[in-house]
Symmetry: C2
Subunit: 338 residues, 2 copies
DNA sequence: CTGAAAGCGCTTACAG
DNA sequence: CTGAAAGCGCTTACAG
């Protein structure tokens, strides 16, 4: 049970000083005598007083809340991504005394986001993915509220942070090509996600670097269900495909299923590589070559950017985080264990 | 761009009335002339003024925020559950002009939750799961803040809402037993989750109802990885198991893998049933018998309970929502398509 | 170094 | 039906 909400006024009265003094002792702003300060702080500690952040916010025209926009039209495979992002964001926000308020948007429906900003409930927002045509982002831009995007966008005015999917995909693809693969395919999902394009570009980059590569490559985008994958794999097997790279672990799971049903051996007949290194495939035999991103860090950094921005600090417009290519047994050139 | 934050004062001045009147026109509380009211509302509409909820809250000692506690030590398979819950909660909250603030808790670390409540940032909270020893719940109880739990708990003082896992599991198990199964096993995960116990009870209930059932049943709890499942399945096959029921679709996926590797046919040699009916197994062949819950509705209802509670309405202490058993091809007695 | 006062944008008795 | 005033719990020039 709490002792009926102590206020700054109560303390001032109790201690025989003005509430201005109390406020200063707490905030650390403004000159104040060391002993007065100590006295106040001790009292606060002893009676475990907690500042009313709402009131503070009203006086400062701040909320100490940040908005987190999360897609409602999610895909199971993306869930761990959003979850980990959220972890990083919440952790940092809470460290810097902010809270995280969520707005779920589905398709063009950004009502929840609009509510949060027009109701003055948030100081800034974090977008957790970017689309080629991005309704939430459009809205945020015209609303004028500070925001940072997790993901990439061509719009240089938006503060963005992302893992380097392009280089990651290039490196993975390069690793595979260098073992002499002549027939390779890339399967990806939604082209409306900016990241899909970036990975595709990385895939293409790999060929550009290998001069004199002779062979065929195929790209399938916008595939989002097992049946489609099944057909694609069938066709690829007829063409004697040597390697299939998938843009996410759901697709990869489908590919592996399809290969197994067709009796094709991995990696002897077909090699397989994927993105994200999620728990979906964690137990798969053979272990699957994949790219690993530190998503929680991505969230933390994004949140840091936003909070710095809110505190008027200078922030990097574009941040690119690393990745780790893990070659495993689903490709022939695997290096280490795990 | 917003037109520099209109306030209730500006409007009062502009319209030549008091701000009391404006406030009443907006809130609908207190007597006010129909024409005055209309005039104010029109002005508001025309200049799209939005009430500052924070200020309103301060005056009323409310925040219009609810806290949502989400586990950080999640398991991939549970993610869709939390996501769907969140959907339902956010939707309803937003309809009733509340916002949702998240606190992630991991293990005994409930720091984020504590921050939210001691900082006076939320009016109430929703717990998204229940544990046999539940640190967040303990904290909420002693803090005195109103809350509702999604999931069940023996503590009758807490307002709780859940799907009827016990009956669901009983019905599924009963369906299977009635086709003459003599050897059946149940595999579940974390026993510290209250729901695990409820399902187990439902499983047992089914035997109680079938008088004269002769056979053997085995229960494996706290299994949480593929290797364990693999071993269990191996052993069960030696014992010529006829049916395996799993408590979640991750376990089910592991079981199916293990069966396939052992060359056991589903459902001819071993029948398989599961919980949750998630996308994880959506594409599986044969289709998997499972139980379906409307999780979004669960979230919506939970949120409704909490908001009603906050508005001092009477609310049900314990709500039990339904389920749907979907018999499919992984068991011999499947009924319909899908 | 400290305080009185005004103000953040609302609500709500109280009085008329 | 309407308004003046006090108050929600803070912050912040301004003055001393």
């Amino acid at each position: 049970m709490e002792e009926k909400n102590l206020t700054i006024n109560d303390i001032a009265e109790e201690l025989g000083v003005s509430k201005t003094t109390i406020s200063r002792a707490i905030s650390g702003k403004g000159r104040i005598g060391a002993d007065t300060r100590k006295k106040v702080l001790e009292y606060i500690e002893a009676h475990n007083y907690r500042l009313n952040v709402i009131a503070k916010g009203l006086a400062q025209n701040k909320t100490y809340n940040i908005g987190l926009v999360l897609p409602g039209d999610y895909n199971v495979v993306e869930l761990p991504f959003f979850q980990n992002c959220m972890m990083g964001i919440c952790k940092l926000a809470s460290e810097r005394d902010y809270d995280v308020l969520i707005s779920m948007v589905t398709g063009q429906n950004i009502a929840q986001l609009e509510r949060a900003v027009t109701n003055h409930k948030i100081d800034g927002v974090i977008l957790t993915r970017t689309l080629t045509k991005d309704a939430p982002m459009e809205y945020l831009k015209e609303s004028g509220i500070p925001f940072v995007a997790i993901g990439s966008t061509g719009d240089d005015t938006v503060i963005q942070i992302d893992n380097d999917h392009r280089r990651a995909c290039k490196e993975l693809t390069g690793n595979l090509l260098r073992q002499g693969i002549k027939k390779i395919a890339l399967i990806g999902s939604d082209e409306s996600h900016v990241v899909t394009g970036n990975r595709l570009r990385g895939f293409e980059d790999a060929f550009g670097e290998l001069d004199g590569w002779q062979g065929s490559r195929e790209v399938f985008l916008n595939v989002d269900n097992g049946r489609q994958v099944e057909e694609i794999v069938k066709r690829l097997l007829q063409e004697r495909i040597e390697c299939i790279v998938t843009m996410d672990d759901f697709l990869c799971g489908c590919v592996l299923d399809a290969l197994q049903r067709s009796g094709a051996q991995v990696p002897d007949e077909v090699q397989v590589g994927s993105f994200y290194d999620s728990t979906f495939l964690a137990n798969h035999m053979p272990s699957v070559t994949s790219i690993r991103f530190n998503v929680e860090e991505l969230g933390t950094k994004a949140c840091e950017l936003l909070l710095d921005l809110l505190e008027e600090k200078d922030v990097e417009r574009r941040t690119l985080l690393g990745y780790e290519v893990r070659m495993r047994r689903s490709t022939r050139s695997f290096r280490t264990g795990s």
